[in-house]
């Protein structure tokens, strides 16, 4: 088992002289649920995208499972997956066709069996033959989560996994994520504006502010440092 899941060294991203992520160095152990918090424009999504190789860093290095992302990109990507409400699947084809496509890209063995198992767990079995474009937001989120779990990722990146979902669907997703992590001992990195969600799911928090790390450590330490008992209080205090 690798020692670390994610390690970044002086990671920065600059667009036309505007720095979005600045000198971020983190060292996350293997296994667990970690939260990345920050206000709009803090650099959360850019940070996540760099970890997946979607955005090339301007400076710094990324190591996933102790291996350089630059040198072992395709080997690493086999074990990573991602879900975001801002990223969709093709709307004109069925859910099943979409899932089979991604299962092929990840070289998933026993594709249909895997899809049926996940679709049963995520309650999407009834609309596997529906076109993706006809699904509700809640259904789409569950399908996207199914896509993100097809390769049993060792590192799962979730960008606002419950954005615009109703209370019961959000709770279902959170439970599912927690169980998945326990069952597979995988590493899950979540960005969310839902502070309660991060509080419930994550033991370790990375706080970004204007692209820089403001805090990186255990949730309890953050509370202690800020003399607060909730993330909401910390954020509100910060606004004042």
């Amino acid at each position: 088992m690798p020692k670390t899941s994610i390690r970044t060294k002086n990671l920065s991203k600059t667009y036309d002289n505007k720095t979005v992520v600045s000198n971020v160095s983190i060292n996350l152990p293997y296994g667990g649920i970690f939260g990345v918090l920050g206000k709009n424009g803090a650099g959360k999504t850019t940070f996540l995208a760099m970890l997946m190789g979607l955005i090339t860093p301007s400076e710094g290095e990324i190591f996933i499972f102790d291996k350089s992302l630059k040198l072992y990109k395709y080997e690493i990507l086999k074990n990573i997956n991602f879900q975001s409400p801002y990223v969709d699947l093709p709307k004109k084809i069925t859910v099943m066709q979409n899932l089979i496509f991604y299962a092929r890209l990840y070289d998933v063995k026993n594709t249909k069996k895997k899809i049926f198992e996940l679709s049963e767990d995520l309650f999407i079995k009834d609309f596997l033959d529906n076109t993706y474009g006809t699904l509700s937001s809640g259904q789409k989120t569950r399908v996207n989560l199914c896509k993100a779990l097809l390769n049993d990722p060792k590192l799962l990146l979730l960008d606002e996994p419950t954005a615009s979902l109703d209370v019961s669907t959000s709770e279902f997703i959170r439970k599912y994520i927690r169980n998945f992590q326990k069952k597979n001992n995988s590493t899950i990195l979540i960005t969310s504006h839902n502070l309660e969600e991060i509080e419930k799911l994550c033991s370790h928090i990375i706080l970004l502010e204007k692209g820089k790390i403001k805090f990186d450590g255990k949730k309890n330490e953050l509370f202690k440092q800020n003399k607060s008992s909730s993330l909401k209080d910390i954020f509100l205090k910060d606004d004042k």
């Binding site: 190789g53 979607l54 955005i55 080997e75 969709d88 699947l89």
Partner: protein, 263 residues
């Protein structure tokens, strides 16, 4: 009321004239139409000796082969655009899929779409107009392949531009083929064009392809020199266009564009 109509007018003006490709497509079409029909009419007026069926055969062959180029290019760009429109690029690019594998996939789907699109047209033309595209014999395969390859080259350039500069360039996917139509000498020979335009047109493989088609249909002969030029130009453009497309993916990663594409 006037204010609301004015608001609509400004809004549509901004959409229509807001980008260079859109602007180009607005003023280019009338010019293309006039040039094309002008050269076309000139050629057939000066070749009255052609029987109507021979002329029809040449025109239909040209129509079908031109469509190969159009379908080839469109098959590639539309398949790539589907990923953009459905905001699916991040999902795609975080898989172990290599950029070059995407190139192969796009080429194959374009080939499939073109074959499906063209086959019924050929059979209908054969049935209704006694049209014999197959008179071109094995050369038909050569012409077909080279037209579709040039279609891929254009497709990769357009896809790369859209990835890098955004959806304003989507207009090019429909327009670019017709931009090169008058200079491609599809329905008339190269010498119908003014001398200065001829010099530029010679850089288009389509010119040599359609000249070859006419030579086979009218004189039943083929010029090796033309064949070699077609192969050379096509390979050169295909390699350059693929390199351009791959470079645009690299730039998109650098500028964070893969995350922000979509409808």
């Amino acid at each position: 009321m006037i204010n609301r109509i004015l608001a609509l007018l400004i809004r549509y003006k901004n959409i229509s004239f807001g980008s260079f490709p859109r602007l180009l497509s607005i003023f280019y079409w009338p010019t293309v139409q006039i040039l094309f029909w002008g050269y076309f009419t000139n050629f057939f007026m000066s070749n009255e000796s052609f029987g109507i069926w021979s002329a029809l055969n040449i025109i239909l062959s040209a129509v079908v082969l031109w469509d190969v180029l159009f379908r080839g290019q469109l098959g590639l760009t539309m398949s790539f655009f589907e990923e953009l429109w459905s905001r699916n690029l991040p999902n795609l690019f975080i898989t172990p899929l290599k950029d070059i594998e995407m190139v192969y996939g796009l080429i194959l789907i374009s080939l499939l779409r073109t074959l499906i699109g063209i086959t019924p047209a050929v059979f209908f033309a054969n049935y209704f107009f006694d049209f014999h595209l197959f008179e071109l014999g094995l050369y038909l395969i050569f012409l077909f392949l080279n037209l579709i390859i040039f279609g891929w080259s254009i497709g990769f350039i357009v896809s790369g531009l859209v990835l890098r500069y955004g959806q304003a360039f989507e207009e090019l996917a429909w327009a670019i083929i017709f931009i090169i139509l008058p200079f491609s000498c599809v329905y008339y020979p190269l010498d119908s064009l003014p001398n200065i335009v001829q010099d530029i047109a010679l850089f288009l493989p389509t010119v040599h392809i359609f000249e070859t088609m006419r030579l086979i249909l009218i004189e039943n002969k083929i010029v090796l020199h033309n064949v070699l030029i077609i192969i050379f130009l096509n390979l050169l453009y295909l390699i350059l266009s693929i390199l351009f497309f791959l470079r645009m993916i690299f730039v998109a990663r650098k500028r964070g564009l893969l995350f922000n594409q979509g409808e």
